[in-house]
């Protein structure tokens, strides 16, 4: 399969829910400061058809806010596991990866970038100061390592959790 861009940044989150907007904010950063070989998408959440977009790239980075993960961010490998049920309201990155691998034959690498956020409960369209600082560090680091092809060097083994739109922990998002 021909890859238009090598890496897909698939950012998730709701900009109207405080730090849940970290993912979209990162996507916005890379739309304003594009990197060669990096495709950018964002949505409120992952969707089933994202598998088709993933399959057009060599690697994918799911970017989401993290409620309890590493500061300022953590980058983790995502392994596809078998989702037993899908709905358009709730699709985890592993489900997207599993669909891409098993239904579309994709063999690329998948990462989950968890940018640490702190304020998720309120209906505000801005990041907290600490989350904004974490976003800045994540964007800089990602730029450097994508451009130099050294993304693997900043992968951590530590587990993390991501945050869904309600701010509830989303366990086992990474492996």
């Amino acid at each position: 399969m021909k890859h238009a861009q090598k890496i897909l940044l698939l950012a998730m989150g709701n900009p109207a829910r405080g730090d849940d907007g970290l993912g979209p904010a990162l996507a916005s950063h890379f739309e304003r400061h594009p990197i060669d070989g990096l495709g950018v998408m964002w949505n409120y959440q992952a969707s089933i058809e994202d598998a088709a977009d993933v399959a057009e790239h060599e690697s994918v980075i799911f970017a989401d806010a993290s409620g309890s993960g590493a500061e300022p961010f953590g980058l983790h490998r995502v392994l596809g596991v078998g989702p037993r049920s899908l709905s358009s309201h709730d699709v985890a990155p592993e489900a997207v990866i599993t669909l891409a691998r098993q239904a579309l034959g994709w063999q690329g690498r998948a990462y989950l970038l968890g940018i640490r956020g702190y304020e998720f409960g309120s209906f505000v369209e801005r990041l907290s100061d600490r989350a904004a600082e974490n976003l800045s560090v994540a964007a800089t680091q990602l730029s450097v390592h994508i451009a130099s092809g050294t993304l693997e060097s900043i992968v951590t083994d530590a587990p993390t959790t991501t945050i869904d739109r309600h701010g509830a922990p989303w366990p086992n998002a990474t492996h």
Binding site: N43, Y44, Q45, S47, I48, E49, A51, A52, D53, G82, P83, R84, S85, L86, S87, S88, H89, D90, T98, L99, Q102, A103, L104, R165, H166
Partner: protein
Amino acid sequence: MGTHARRIEISPVTRVEGHGKVTIHLDEGNRVIDARLHIVEFRGFERFIQGRPYWEMPVAVQRLCGICPVSHHLCAAKAIDHIVGGAKLTPTAEKMRRLMHYGQMFQSHCLHFFHLASPDLLFGFDSDPATRNVMGIIGTNRDLAFQAIMMRKYGQEIIRATSGKKIHGTGAIPGGINKSLTIAERDALLADIEQMKKWSRHALDLARRYTLANIDLVKTFASFESNYISIVRRDGAMDLYDGGLRAIDANGGPIFDHVPNPAYLDVIREGVRSWSYMKFPFIRSLGEEAGWYRVGPLARINTCDYIDTPEAEAARLEFKALTNGRPNHMTMAFHWARMIEVVHSIEMIERLLNDSDLQGGDLVVSGERAREGVGIIEAPRGTLFHHYRVGEDDLVTMCNLIVSTTSNNEAMNRSVRRVAEDCLSGRPQITEGMLNRIEIAIRAYDPCLSCATHALGKMALVAEIIGPDGVVIDHKVREP
């Protein structure tokens, strides 16, 4: 309830969109006394958008759902069109909205059929729950899984091209649309149209063959006679975007026909019950007891006189032949009807993409300001009503939404009860397969419980058998 009665609870129901639970009350002989589908979260949209400017409605109200936001987006826009005196859209605006709508219908029906319903149909109601899911589909029929993803993506790309975003777009505005379709967008979508038509026919054939091969089961499972409602075009054709209200009774006789959208309250009323946050709409002339009705694909096939696209019409005729032209009351036939609409949608998408009006530049109309607007549309799950009143200060003073799943509320409850009586009543043990049958009955309607109540979240299945003293005497959990 007798002193030895017990209650079974399925909470939340799986492989549906949103949160719900089922409770089944049994007497001391394990006979079903009552069975109910409860909607466990509360929808506050009608109240909390009061005080907001009317022009926000097409964008704001769609936030109550992540799967059918396009339906709410367009329905709100249709209602607000009346507020701005722009109900008669330009050809470009109406056709762009229609294209968006058929894209939504296509992707939503495909998602439901392939990802949520097909494991039950392909593997059987009692098959191993460990594989009776989308991963089981991938494992046994990778081509089908591939089609499911690509068909859903195609519909979403249409939505993106017409509304700006796959989820919560902004294309429809009061009195029109904010963009036309570029030649490049059109050609990109046309490039895949033949493949989508081919896969749609395949999906239709799957649903048709399932129904015919299991006709004895389908005829009775969760089924009963009912009234049906949809909108239809002026000539009686199926029209998913616009038309007058039509209701038929269980024999196909007319209850009302071509009722203008603003007069919906003359024919529809909403009841409430203490145990559910969902309302119970009914046909006013028949009263609350007899006036409940069904909406959605089965209702639309039952109510329309014909379908204005050749392949879907041929499929409709075969569908109607099954019941000798009378209304089809088989709840599991929702799936076949839904796939007829998939074929109809892709035929309409092709027709629209080849219409040069989509490249027009006349996008918005306006006229005399009004204080009230009603929009009605056929959402994937059925007839959707949006009704707004607006003050002189442009702020919304009243909002009433009747969403499709709400209209099917009574019918879903009856289906649950029918299955409970047929499959559970008098049995000493409750098996997973029995519980799955309850969910299969609900899934046939493709309910969006989020729409009905604005609920979102993860779904597991928990079944509890509770004794008369409130103590849980049996407990089953099935992760999604």
